[in-house]
Amino acid sequence: MDPFINHKGIVAPLDRSNVDTDQIIPKQFLKRIERTGFGEFAFFDWRYLEPGVLNPEFILNEERYKNASILVSGTNFGSGSSREHAPWALLDYGFKVIIAPSFADIFRNNCFQNGILSIILDKNEVDHIMGMSLSTKNYELNVDLENEIIYDDSGFKTSFKIDPFRRDSLLKGEDEIARTLTSSDQIDNYEKNRIKRW
């Protein structure tokens, strides 16, 4: 995983709440056995009128959001299925940061695993960013994970919080399994003392 330190990018708005993982990547694309190549299927049912024909009404299809790498959306983003294909699709599509007032738990864990930064902000801050990204051409945000702040070039600035251990892993781009394997002694120990049946 690449380290995540800071990121500057164009913001795309998806003004809906409860965007579920069935929408982010519909089931017919879960049959692949790779981790890559899911980007073209992201938001499939909203994005295409029929395979190959983009839906001009879907906001992410607008020319001005084509190079966006930060997605801002409503509450409970990523609800539903545990499919990690959802963050794989978003990452492959080009999103590195997702901002929302709240996220579903499993989806958020899956983001951490793939170096996507999911940022929880107050609803009014999210609304502000959403508004700016709609009204300003190529509206960009700077995300600074080390200092846990987010700001634009016109005076908006706010802070966010990530669990210290998770933040550290993202900054280092650390492989979580490799990290856990360094705790093998503790795991061995736990297993020895584990109630027999458990």
Binding site: N76, R83, D105
Partner: protein
């Protein structure tokens, strides 16, 4: 210090504390299916890692299985995914219940059925409805594919300690009202993200008096209310269910477990981060009208007007849901005509559910314009149902009787809705496109689905003859 059931299980599984909230916890049982595991095994291979405890890992095939001719998988990609799991299980020594085995079935149905699911355990699976197993007083939750790999390689998982929530049912479920109605009404009340970040314990009369199947239905849908896990403290019913199952320890080992299980309850006076009370005494059968499981009404109500919602967000959600569902505000839900009926899934595909539905339809005929099907949750459920003759009851009424699998719960196999088709479904998600692109799903109990199949529209089963 007084502890909740969740805290007891969590504390006894911490291998290493990593920061204030984050811990490495030990996993007692890891269930695996074909959809969320291939990339995990592949990555183990690339990194020359082994499966640490194949003996605590069990695989089955459920999501892709055709329910008509299961040995003839026409979709080449489905076939490849199934074959990949077979090969992975063989290479890494993981036991698998394949489609030629009577113990095959939906992963959340076979876990309890085989006695793999036991009180006090930590149980994970690359599937959000893993919360089902919490019905046994286990801490069970869904994980993503990277976490599947983490558990395969280390038998542990890095997790943030969830907050605790108590949902206490006051009073009992009235006659004709089911656990499905109760959980739908709970999600309607707390919202689809009401439980986010929480492990929820269901307490009080209605849950205590509920069958194990009913508790599984409730815990299964905890995730639809955003809950990290749902659980019910183990009691006599739990023990009776678990005892004598294939993987349940026997004799002295079992007696030892009983001693431990006795401790598995929330201490009097223990505090939850959030406490909610639900009055059950006036609960009615529920039907979902929208595109998330919190958009529900009781069967005798009308579809709400988006303008009646208190936030602009809920209003716009309701508007887009009504548009997708092809419904009008103010329409009586009992006037809504249906095209399809699906009885099955890890929510309501167990023997008790099929019995309840069969009782409703016995001797009656499925409506002229309705296509109805029953998909048992597992090979065992199918076998037991056939032993009782339930298959005949369904077939005589005009239902299709299929083979075990996830089927039209998520339509990854050939069973799916056509655009605009409307379905009364006993599954757990009514998301846009869940049962087929532009298909319209109404979540209901097995009894309600059965009655709707006969009438061609929703009816209140309590006074329906």
């Amino acid at each position: 210090m007084k502890k909740t059931l969740f805290e007891k299980i969590w504390n006894s599984h911490v291998v290493e504390q990593l920061d204030d909230d984050l811990a490495l916890i030990y996993i007692d049982l890891h269930l695996v299916h074909e959809v969320t595991s291939p990339q995990a095994f592949e990555s183990l291979r690339i990194n020359s890692r082994k499966v640490r405890r194949p003996d605590l890992t069990v695989a089955t095939i459920d999501h892709n299985v055709p329910t008509l001719d299961r040995f003839n998988i026409k979709d080449p990609i489905s076939k490849q995914q199934i074959e990949t799991l077979r090969k992975n299980c063989e290479d890494f020594n993981v036991p698998i219940y394949d489609i030629d085995n009577v113990n095959q079935g939906i992963v959340h149905v076979i876990g309890p059925e085989l006695g793999l699911t036991q009180p006090g355990m930590t149980i994970v699976c690359g599937d959000s409805h893993t919360s089902t197993h919490g019905a046994f007083g286990a801490l069970a939750f869904g994980i993503g594919t990277s976490e599947v790999e983490h558990v395969l390689a280390t038998q542990t998982l890095l997790q943030k300690k969830p907050k605790t929530m108590s949902i206490e049912a006051v009073g009992n479920l009235p006659f004709g009202v089911t656990p499905k109605d109760l959980i739908l009404s709970i999600i309607g009340k707390i919202g689809v993200d009401g439980g986010t970040g929480h492990a929820i314990e269901f307490r009080g009369d209605a849950f205590e008096n509920m069958s194990m199947e009913g508790r599984m239905t409730v815990c299964n849908m905890t995730i639809e209310g955003g809950g990290r896990a749902g659980m019910v403290a183990p009691d006599e019913k739990t023990i009776e269910f678990v005892q004598g199952k294939k993987f349940t320890p026997k004799g002295k080992n079992f007696d030892q477990l009983l001693e431990i299980w006795k401790e598995l309850k929330t201490d009097d006076g223990a505090k939850f981060d959030t406490e909610i009370k639900i009055d059950c005494s006036s609960l009615e059968p529920h039907v979902s009208w929208g595109t998330n499981p919190g958009q529900v009404v009781s069967v005798n109500s009308s579809i709400p007007d988006p303008n009646d919602f208190d936030t602009p967000e809920k209003k716009s959600n309701a508007e887009s849901a009504l548009e997708y569902m092809g419904l009008e505000a103010g329409q009586k839900i009992s006037d809504v005509k249906i095209d399809r009926v699906f009885i099955g899934s890890c929510t309501n595909g167990r023997l008790e559910d099929l019995r309840a539905a069969a009782k409703i339809i016995d001797g009656k005929k499925v409506g002229k314009n309705v296509n109805a099907m029953v998909v048992p949750g597992s090979g065992i459920v199918k076998m037991l149902a056939e032993k009782e003759g339930l298959d005949k009851v369904f077939i005589n009424s005009g239902f299709e009787w299929r083979e075990a699998g996830c089927s039209m719960c998520l339509a990854m196999n050939p069973d799916k809705l056509s655009p605009q088709e409307r379905c009364a479904s006993t599954s757990n998600r009514n998301f846009e496109g869940r049962q087929g692109k532009d298909g319209r799903t109404h979540l209901v109990s097995p009894e309600m689905a059965a009655a709707a199949a006969i009438e061609g529209h929703f009816v209140d089963v309590r006074n329906w003859k």
